[in-house]
């Protein structure tokens, strides 16, 4: 039996609207559908101008983050419920509706030197030894898809000269814990105001890939 669902979606077109507003749409609710299915239904059947992003449909690309019923999530990996409210990710600049401006985040992250710095690698002709203990946390940190759900859940203000945000610290963790890397990135922790973290654990609760950003921040703090 197909039931009716109701979704309230944040709408804002800066070309037309003075202020954001919500529109309510109905959709055929079915067990097993995701929040992305609801958005696609509305766009394909009711209003083709509804703007949101997604790409891989299955949790890898990190582009479809939204806030569904007040919880940041990847819309492709969140089961829909019959009554939904969908907002754009918090702490991001809205371009139109649920679509956010990615370039601000990209330029902030671009300053983190997320590459390996290492002299003399020419002699490496076979795999290097990496212990299981050092491999594990690197592996977990590198599961991050930069969906920014953690940043949206964080109670701190995020930005230049402010808190770097859980996502930025997760990305840094990967390089801090890599035994092969030779660059001192400690100044980036200071610049990112890592001490502002209050360890509330909200980032960890919303991470769709179980990266545990709060734990990563603790590791970095211990590392300094």
């Amino acid at each position: 039996m197909m039931e009716q669902g109701k979704v309230k979606i944040f709408r804002f077109d800066p070309d037309k609207d003075k202020a954001p507003h919500y529109e309510t749409y109905s959709f055929p609710f079915e067990n097993g559908m995701t929040v992305l299915d609801v958005l696609l239904y509305v766009r394909n059947h009711t209003d083709s101008t509804l703007s949101f992003t997604y790409c891989c449909r299955n949790g890898h690309c990190g582009l479809c983050g939204v806030i569904a019923n007040k919880v940041p999530c990847l819309s492709c990996h969140e089961a829909a419920v019959q009554e939904l409210t969908i907002d754009p990710l918090d702490k991001q600049t809205v371009v139109r509706d649920l679509l956010i401006e990615q370039s601000i985040y990209t330029s902030r992250i671009g300053k983190l030197k997320l590459f390996m710095c290492r002299e003399k690698t020419d002699a490496l002709v076979r795999p290097e030894f990496i212990s299981t203990e050092s491999f594990e946390p690197i592996k977990i940190a590198s599961r991050c898809v930069e969906c920014k759900c953690c940043d949206a859940a964080c109670p701190l203000e995020i930005g230049e000269d402010k808190f770097l945000g859980p996502s930025g610290f997760v990305l840094l963790t990967r390089h801090f814990l890599d035994p092969r890397d030779e660059l001192d990135r400690n100044y980036l922790l200071k610049d990112g105001n890592i001490e502002h973290c209050i360890h509330c654990g909200r980032c960890t609760r919303v991470c769709p890939h179980n990266v545990d950003p709060e734990n990563m921040i603790s590791r970095l703090q211990a590392h300094r």
Partner: protein
């Protein structure tokens, strides 16, 4: 306007590998990508591994065996010279990626790579990282690209390649974020735009893989080869709609059943059952559905209930998480699945530097043809991405010293502008989404897993009709900036050209081999068909189809 020596179009690992290689030669290079690198394209979702026999090889394995496995998987239609290059050069690049920061999973000793084996490989030989090897490649490569300060322009969809005197001269892009055109002048151009999974309604590909490079290159005189060879992975989700076509289960963990509960593979391959070749399994599934023994969503059932409790969660945690999100308990119920378009073996015809027949225009990664023949061996795609990227990057960098920037055709910008304006001209037209669905359904129904002259003619008629509607697409959003409908509409042009090339090639090849199956010619025919079908489209007009005398490339590995 941008001016550079080497322009790379694409945002996956092939693009980044090529950029890294060009920059190593101290040559100017720019990447333009339709999506945001590391958040778009096919590499980021590649769960597999990178095939290569290096110092990590197990006893008995050799590059020669990798070579032979690849030819066998490709039903002898591979370009042997390209395969030789692939198996010889992939191992060094796998190591090189670790030198720039990637990390492949180690075995228990920590001193060697853990290795994966998959269908068609004689030995475990493929390094990986969990189920996200592609992402790890991108992280390392785009990290290095940033370190080398290669400019990366995201949100640029290329609308037209520029040629002058038959040589590559740059491209005209559309900046999705700004809503404006961007002319890029370059001495050489490398296409790394991937395949075209979205030509079908069922695909595992991300939404932005739409055959851009195939179509753009055809327009400037490049040749497509082997376009009839499309790989269908048997086990794609059928619902919910958003997941349709994404990989839903693993062949070695399922028993396939029809709606009567029969384990039907016993009728098609009694010995190997579900572990038969992917193309056989996919065809068997379609046959069962056609015979009326399918599920409500046009698939058959993947039965995983026979496993001990907890086993699936341990062996395929990502998928089990997805099952729970969509309300399926795989230990108690069957999952409906259908074949899904996974990979294009065909693409642009290239030489051993991955250069097309248009001087200065290269094609790498999935948008090139030749390495995989009629079907791709698992884990060879990520190897191809590295090897072709490095080769083309080096070659493109080497020739720029002797080249100068070529003039841009005077009316090129105007023509591109006219096409963009057409999306806003009519008040009422067809929506890009509707047109896309029509194209995808026609291709799935008539030019998919099982084909015949009759079905392909139907597909062709439908694509002709889609083509006639392209210029009548109309956007609901009236702005040029961040207009996803507009991008979808632009991509429809690329998809239509790709669809037509697939159909024409499939009509031409009157035999069955690898990813191409003709119901009216069900057998492999080595007497007549150890050849390639080549497509050209002179001056953007009618597609011109030719068949080669023999399989291209000779090579061997000892």
């Amino acid at each position: 306007m941008l001016v550079t020596d080497v322009l790379i179009v694409g945002g996956g690992a092939a693009a980044a590998m090529a950029a890294y290689e060009v920059k190593k030669q101290n040559v100017d290079v720019v990447i333009v990508s339709k999506g945001i690198p590391q958040h778009s394209g096919a590499t980021v979702m590649a769960p597999g591994a990178i095939a290569g026999v290096g110092p990590w090889a197990v006893e008995g394995d050799s590059q020669e065996l990798h070579f032979q496995d690849t030819l066998k998987g490709g039903y002898d239609l591979n370009d042997k010279k390209l395969v030789e290059i692939l198996v010889k050069e992939s191992p060094d690049l796998i190591l090189e990626l670790e030198k720039i920061g990637a990390l492949w999973q180690r075995d228990e000793s920590g001193e060697n790579y853990a290795l994966r084996i998959d269908g068609g490989h004689s030995f475990a030989r493929c390094p990986f990282l969990e189920d996200r090897t592609g992402r790890e490649m991108l992280r390392a490569l785009f990290g290095e690209v940033a370190k080398l300060q290669v400019p990366v322009h995201a949100n640029i969809v290329v609308l037209k390649l520029l040629v002058s005197n038959g040589q590559a001269a740059g491209a005209i892009g559309f900046d999705i974020a700004k809503g404006s055109l961007l002319v890029i002048r370059a001495k050489t151009v490398i296409l790394a735009t991937g395949g075209a999974g979205n030509v079908y309604s069922h695909t595992s590909n991300p939404t932005d893989v739409t055959g851009d490079g195939f179509s753009l290159a055809l327009d400037v005189g490049a040749e497509l080869m082997d376009m009839e060879f499309v790989q269908f992975y048997p086990l794609g989700f059928v619902r919910p709609a958003s997941l349709q076509g994404t990989l839903g289960a693993l062949l070695y963990y399922v028993q396939l059943r029809n709606s009567k509960g029969e384990r039907f593979m016993s009728k098609y391959d009694a010995e190997r059952l579900e572990l038969s070749t992917r193309d056989r399994v996919a065809r068997a599934m379609i046959k069962e559905v056609e015979a009326g023994a399918g599920g409500p969503n046009g698939g058959v059932y993947a039965d995983m209930t026979y496993h001990p409790s907890g086993y699936l969660a341990r062996m395929q945690p990502g998928l089990v998480k997805t099952y729970s999100k969509i309300g399926i308990d795989p230990e108690k119920e069957w999952l409906e699945v259908a074949p899904t378009c996974h990979f294009f073996m065909g693409g642009l015809r290239v030489d051993t530097n991955w250069q097309t027949n248009v001087p200065g225009l290269y094609a790498i990664g999935e948008c090139a043809a030749g390495v995989h023949g009629a079907n791709r061996l698992s884990q060879n795609a990520l190897a191809e991405v590295l090897v072709s990227g490095a080769r083309a990057g080096r070659a493109a960098a080497a020739v720029v010293a002797d080249k100068s920037l070529l003039p841009v055709e005077a009316d090129a910008v105007q023509r591109v502008e006219n096409r963009l304006k057409s999306f806003f001209a009519a008040k009422r037209g067809i929506s890009p989404h509707q047109l896309r669905s029509r194209l995808q359904n026609a291709m799935w129904d008539y030019a998919g897993v099982i084909r015949s002259a009759e079905s392909l003619q139907k597909a062709l008629a439908e694509i002709e009709s889609v083509k006639s509607l392209l210029s009548r697409q109309t956007c609901g959003i009236r702005a040029y900036q961040y207009n996803q409908e507009l991008v979808e509409g632009i991509e429809n042009y690329f998809l239509a050209a790709t669809a037509e090339a697939i159909i024409q090639s499939a009509l031409q090849r009157e035999e069955s081999r690898g990813g191409h199956y003709r119901e009216d010619f069900p057998d492999r025919d080595d007497v007549n068909w150890l050849t390639h079908v080549i497509i050209k489209r002179p001056d953007g007009g009618v597609m011109n189809i030719a068949v080669t005398q023999q399989v291209s490339g000779t090579g061997r590995v000892q």
